[in-house]
Amino acid sequence: MTGNDMMRLKMWKPTGLALAAIAATAAVALAVPSAMAQRDPAYAAARAAGQIGEQPDGYLGFASTPTPAIRALVQDLNIKRKAAYTERAQATGSTVEQFAFTSGCNLIANTKPGEKYQAPDGRWLTRDDSPPVRNASCP
């Protein structure tokens, strides 16, 4: 290898890193708008209205009888959630139920005052400023 080649290599390495960084940024930039686009305003509205809420099992549920559109929306989100849980469960050597349950603990903890969540006994409660009623196994 000549000195010139070494120089070229040294120059190429940072360039490669920079290109990778640009590619990563572009991927994020592409992913974010599509994610934003998936957010249906009807979902936020139904959530704020207390029609839908977080269940202890990591999925969304209906605190009151939903419209067909809201039902379809929630079912679609739950299918996507299950796919995500399945992927993470495999990566962490756990079951889908275990990973979904752990996510449910967090999702209930993340609910904002006024939003609905399901207590371990099945009751639908409205989140207030106090900590939510969660399963004893939740961290």
């Binding site: 990566a91 996510s103 967090n106 999702l107």
Partner: protein
Amino acid sequence: MNTPKTEARRRAIVGYGLAALIGATVLSGCVQIETPDKPIEINLNINIRQEVVYRLDGDAKKLIEQNSEIF
């Protein structure tokens, strides 16, 4: 006519009979108790699950943050 000796023997027999009866009752009582295997199982599950939940908590938080469109 009961001599003191036969009377004592009779009492002993009655005593043995009573002891056997009580023993049988206690034994049958023991056998009939159903072991509460289900609550024990649930407790175990909760213990295991809590360990698992603590282990998975960081991953779950990351998943929720990175996939806000479905959570």
